[in-house]
């Protein structure tokens, strides 16, 4: 219901603020996530396994609930990540496209505001991300990479643990 006492410009300001929020979401957040992945492991090597670009993609997919938007976002973040690596463009792009699509579909069927659901979704999709990347690297690039199941599960749990507070922080943006 429209509040008649509310001035007209306040509605315009809300739209402007939301648009500004979109810029933050679509440009600044992934750039910061990528920069974190590029820069921080120089000083804390163990943080190299924190997949912030993936977590940012997951958050966008879970909150926006639009498969097309989510897969496009995942594709863009993945391609940027590829561009900063020495691998051919498309490896992370394909994997993150799929992750974004699946996460958006999950968000349309399950209440993803719940922290436990977010934790489990992040854990599952991180594991899928790593496994599918490994499959792609072997199948498309012919790389003989090892897939360490135990460490992958451990890193999936760690990433999911980081995802829950990170999503709450991103919710406020």
């Amino acid at each position: 219901m429209t509040n008649l006492g509310e001035p007209l410009y306040s509605k315009q300001r809300t739209v402007r603020e939301r648009t500004r929020g979109h810029y933050v979401f679509f440009v600044l957040v992934p750039l910061l996530a990528l920069m974190f992945q590029v820069y921080v492991p120089l000083f804390i090597a163990s943080l190299a396994y924190l997949e912030l670009p993936l977590l940012v993609t997951l958050h966008t997919a879970l909150t926006r609930r639009s498969p097309v938007l989510a897969l496009s976002y995942g594709c863009a973040v993945g391609l940027l990540q590829d561009a900063l690596s020495n691998l051919p463009l498309g490896m992370y792009g394909i994997v993150k496209t799929l992750v974004g699509f699946f996460a958006a579909n999950i968000s349309m069927r399950v209440d993803v505001e719940n922290s436990l659901v977010r934790f489990l979704t992040s854990l599952t999709l991180y594991f899928f991300h790593q496994f599918f990347y490994w499959v792609l690297a072997r199948a498309l690039l012919g790389q003989q990479l090892d897939f360490d199941l135990a460490s992958s599960i451990l890193f999936a749990v760690l990433n999911a643990a980081v995802a829950v507070p990170l999503f709450q922080l991103l919710d406020k943006l």
Partner: protein, 372 residues
């Protein structure tokens, strides 16, 4: 068709995006070419942020450390402890400054020592992907850096440039699984191929089981790969054993034993001989410059009678003898036909020999060829 696209719009877009990326990937793998534009954009958008953060970190970490240590000192109580903490802090800061200066000095010394033309660079970021060992350096194409250039430290090789962007460049570290370089054993001159294996050690491949390689042997670059100049230290053998066809050799790279913070990019490599001794570590002590001497005249330097030097070696005696033969015939060395070196001239008196000749020792031989 329209109903189908509307009904399965999400799946259609997904398939389309995936198909485009797979085609892009296939094109890159098949042709070996790269979509450079996207990489340039990505680096140009992320690396300036990394530069800013690194600048802030480098300039504030000392202040933060000082502050945190001051709190610690305050908690311990009293003005004396506070003073002690401040002095400790200052000492630590100066030590870190000294270490940085030492590293820079070692780099500068190596730069002046090596014949190759190099440029110093600093690490500003690492590439994405947990399996790759690729980092970013703060020197790019604008500084003359090109893809394929070698990257070294005074202790040895550390990697090669795999992409050069205007303001930064991407370096593949020696431990990356995709890294390879031609190497040669210092002791037996056996050639092999160095490969990274995504951990601290490297492998040396394609060396026959029969070849003589032992633990502790040093390997140097062979120059076969045309990336690394010949004669740069690579590392020391940690373990070697017989394999099915080739010998299995694990090598500890020497270039990264003092960390990887400042490096040298080889802009123009000059091949050098493989040194015989063990490569020196990075820590080096340098004496101050000697006091300035008056300008030396090369002709006067040969005239031992005027310089007052004592003639102690056979070579000095021979040079002096030829000089006097030339003077007796009015000959200027370096012009005209050679003088007659067979005329008899009295030998110059030998100044205070260090040890008398042993009885029965053969007489000193007289050279038959003039000096060149």
């Amino acid at each position: 068709m329209q109903f189908f696209l509307k009904r399965y719009r999400d799946l259609t877009v997904l398939m389309l995006v995936l198909a485009i990326q797979i085609l892009l990937l296939a094109w890159q793998v098949r042709t070996g070419q790269d979509v450079r534009l996207i990489r340039v954009w990505a680096v140009a958008s992320v690396m300036p942020l990394a530069r800013i953060v690194e600048f802030v970190r480098a300039n504030t970490i000392g202040v933060v450390r000082e502050y945190s240590q001051l709190i610690d000192v305050r908690s311990k109580n009293a003005g004396l402890e506070k003073e002690l903490g401040r002095l400790k802090l200052e000492n630590q800061f100066l030590k870190s400054e000294l270490a940085t200066a030492d590293r820079a000095r070692a780099l500068a010394a190596f730069q002046s020592r090596t014949q190759s033309r190099t440029i110093a660079a600093r690490l500003i970021g690492s590439a994405t992907g947990s399996n790759s060992r690729v980092v970013y350096l703060d020197r790019g194409a604008a500084a003359g850096v090109k893809k394929g250039m070698a990257v070294v430290t005074p202790d040895g090789i550390v990697g090669k440039i795999v992409a050069a962007f205007p303001s930064a460049s991407q370096m593949m570290i020696i431990t990356d699984p995709a890294f390879a370089a031609g190497v040669v054993s210092q002791r037996t001159r056996v050639h092999g191929t160095l490969k990274g294996q995504a951990n601290a050690n490297c492998l040396v491949e394609y060396i026959q089981n029969e070849d003589d390689i032992k633990d502790g042997d040093w390997f140097f670059t062979s120059g076969d790969d045309r990336i690394f100049p010949k004669g740069m230290p690579v590392g020391q053998v940690r373990m070697t054993r017989h394999g099915s066809i080739f010998r299995q050799i694990q090598l500890v790279p020497s270039g990264m034993r003092n960390g990887l913070e400042e490096v040298l990019i080889v802009l123009e490599g000059i091949h050098q001989d493989i040194p015989e001794g063990i490569p020196a570590a990075q820590e080096l002590h340098m004496l101050p410059r000697p006091p300035a001497e008056p300008a030396a005249d090369p002709v006067k330097m040969l005239d031992f009678s005027t310089t007052g030097s004592s003639l102690t070696t056979d070579a000095d005696q021979v040079i002096e003898r030829y000089r006097r033969i030339g003077a007796a015939q009015g000959h200027t060395f370096g012009s005209g036909p050679a003088p007659n070196f067979n005329i008899g001239m009295p030998e110059a008196p030998r100044a205070a020999p260090a040890k008398p000749a042993a009885p029965g020792a053969p007489p000193p031989t007289t050279p038959t060829q003039p000096p060149r």
